[in-house]
């Protein structure tokens, strides 16, 4: 069964789009990532033009992250003050990211910059998570108690002024690194076109030492707000949000996110970190292989959008 997308102007198979929403929604709910870095390439692969794919994924991410965030919220695994501080930083970062993107476009080779930045970032984060979680799992196997938080003094950036207590996360740290972290995520999100959850979750876990599940829940809240805003901005600025496509994705995504969130809350934290590390690394390798491997066809045709 196919349905015609009124804005993207092509027919798609309802069933396969629904399944994509379901699968990515599961991953989104489990790891607290928006899933845009998986969904956008999947849609482009199914024939949806990139501009429409990127824009229509935003409302989908808003829906599935709300669905996931609510179930974390009910379990007390969301740190709202922390989310608020991150959001304040993300706002600054997003503005800076838009300008960075515009500047890169004038220099040229935006595409190359994005691919290299992706590869480095994903490879770096993925490797760190993989190593750390494997060590944690091995320690558990040897019967040693898991090191939930490392002993010793806080890192220098946590001892900066303007300290604040984030009770849910069980940390008492300066808000400056939190805002900076939000800004970096916002910057990368705007410049690379991703929600930033896969950067934020590891950063919260390893740099601020927020418990794994609380990091996931808090990251979902941040994704929810930024993606709802992105939907409105894309709809106004580019007119590329396809409501029908978003609706099918959402129906699958919200259901998938429910099962994902449930799975994420039951899996042991170090296993969750290992899986997320593997996922991040796999996406990084995929992007890298596109850069390094000889393409099947060195030529590609793209439609040049008429400038309004």
């Amino acid at each position: 069964m196919t349905i015609y997308l009124p804005i993207a102007e092509l027919p798609v198979s309802v069933f396969s789009i629904f399944l994509m929403g379901l699968a990515v929604g599961f991953i989104s709910g489990m790891f607290g990532v928006g899933g845009g870095f998986l969904m956008t390439p999947l849609l482009i692969f199914s024939g949806v033009p990139p501009a429409y794919a990127v824009a229509s994924v935003s409302p989908y991410m808003a829906a599935s992250s709300l669905s996931g965030a609510l179930s974390y919220l009910r379990k007390g695994m969301v740190d709202l003050p922390l989310a608020g501080m991150l959001l304040a930083g993300a706002l600054i970062g997003t503005l800076a990211g838009v300008f960075l993107f515009l500047w890169l476009r004038t220099v040229g080779q935006v595409d190359l910059f994005i691919r290299i930045a992706y590869t480095v970032l994903l490879g770096f984060i993925g490797t760190i998570m993989l190593l750390e979680s494997m060590r944690a799992i091995l320690r558990g196997r040897r019967g040693q108690p898991p090191l939930v938080r490392r002993p010793g003094p806080h890192a220098w950036f946590m001892r900066l002024p303007l300290k604040m207590r984030f009770r849910r996360s069980r940390i008492y740290i300066s808000v400056l690194p939190v805002i900076a972290m939000g800004a970096v995520v916002g910057l990368l999100g705007a410049a690379l076109g991703v929600g930033g959850g896969f950067i934020l979750v590891p950063a919260l876990i390893y740099m601020l030492r927020v418990p794994t599940q609380t990091s996931v829940g808090t990251s979902l809240v941040l994704t929810l707000v930024t993606m709802a805003a992105a939907t409105v901005l894309h709809a106004e600025a580019n007119r590329t949000v396809d409501a029908v496509l978003a609706l099918i994705l959402m129906l699958g995504g919200t259901v998938g996110a429910q099962f994902g969130a449930r799975a994420g809350q039951t899996v042991r934290a170090e296993h969750l970190r290992l899986l997320l590390g593997l996922l991040v690394l796999a996406v990084g390798l995929r992007v890298a292989s596109d850069l390094v491997a000889t393409p099947a066809d060195p030529y590609a045709v793209t439609a040049v959008e008429a400038q309004p």
Binding site: Y4, S67, L70, S71, A235, V292, A300
Partner: protein
């Protein structure tokens, strides 16, 4: 009317196009018999020396939510009869495309070169009754744009605009990729004769076909020369729900965005309630 009567059974195999086909053929036969002075409003232009009349099965292709492409038929009558060949070209709305070429820079595959194709049809189908090389010589085929590779595809060359040689690698790649996407087609057995002077050409437009006005051009060749040509057109447009949604998103970007965002929150909330397990 004998012509139409005799031809209709042969087109019986064409499924849903049948009633339209019969009607179109009757109209064509009447128009052909009535001659150039006939009062029939056909949307075709008869060339001066030899007449050629065209009719399309559907002047409008309406896109609904279940749209997945459409099958169209163009009928033509060349009252002069005799031995002739036909090339039918369907061109969709013009768009601009870029063809990129990747090459290796410091071990990485990077888009290094590109060519802009300006105002080239977003859909292009060329059909003939037999291999085009046998219909006419290369010069005639080229000047009449008979064949996919012989269509004029204007590129931006520096500050100028021009078509390039057919063997140009960017041009070849462009045609190849558009064909793989199903938006450019060539069929050298796509025109059939229903009677010595009546031909039909079936063509399909895919679901991904662009919205807009399409032109259908038919050319008659005799002894390797183009002796008559005619054109008709049809439009592909969204209707009903599809049209309303698209129009609303164009006219009220902010409102549309807010509604979609609110809807997404509503669905996310709903799913959570639905799956709540206390």
């Amino acid at each position: 009317m004998t012509r139409a009567g005799g031809a209709a059974p042969r087109s019986a195999g064409c499924g849903r196009a049948l009633p339209i086909a019969v009607r179109a053929l009757v109209a064509l036969a009447v128009a052909a018999l009535a001659g150039p002075g006939g009062a029939f409003a056909m949307d075709a232009v008869a060339a001066a020396p030899e007449r050629l009349v065209l009719s399309i099965s559907q002047p409008e292709v309406r896109i609904t939510s279940s749209f997945d492409g459409a099958d169209l038929v163009v009928f033509g009558v060349a009252p002069d009869g005799g031995d002739f060949d036909v090339v039918v070209t369907v061109r969709g709305p013009a768009e601009e495309f870029a063809t990129w070429r990747k090459s290796r820079v410091m071990g990485l595959w990077v888009n290094t070169e590109s060519r802009r194709f300006l105002d080239v049809p977003a859909f292009l189908s060329v059909q003939s009754n037999r291999p085009m090389e046998r219909i006419a010589g290369p010069d005639v085929l080229r000047s009449e744009q008979a064949g996919l590779a012989r269509n004029v595809l204007v590129q931006r060359v520096g500050t100028d605009f021009s078509d390039v040689v057919q063997s140009d690698p960017f041009r070849v790649a462009f045609l190849r990729i558009r064909q793989a996407e199903g938006l450019y087609r060539e069929n050298e057995a796509g025109v059939s004769f229903l009677a010595p002077d009546v031909f039909r050409s079936d063509f399909a437009i895919p679901g991904t076909a662009p919205i807009g006005r399409y032109t259908v051009n038919a050319k008659v060749f005799r002894d390797g020369r183009m002796t008559a040509h005619a054109a008709t057109e049809f439009t592909v447009k969204k209707t009903g729900f599809e049209q309303n949604v698209a129009q609303f998103s164009q006219d009220h970007g902010w409102l549309y965005g807010c509604l979609v965002a609110l809807g997404s929150l509503f669905i996310g909330f709903g799913a959570n309630i639905l799956f709540r397990r206390e």
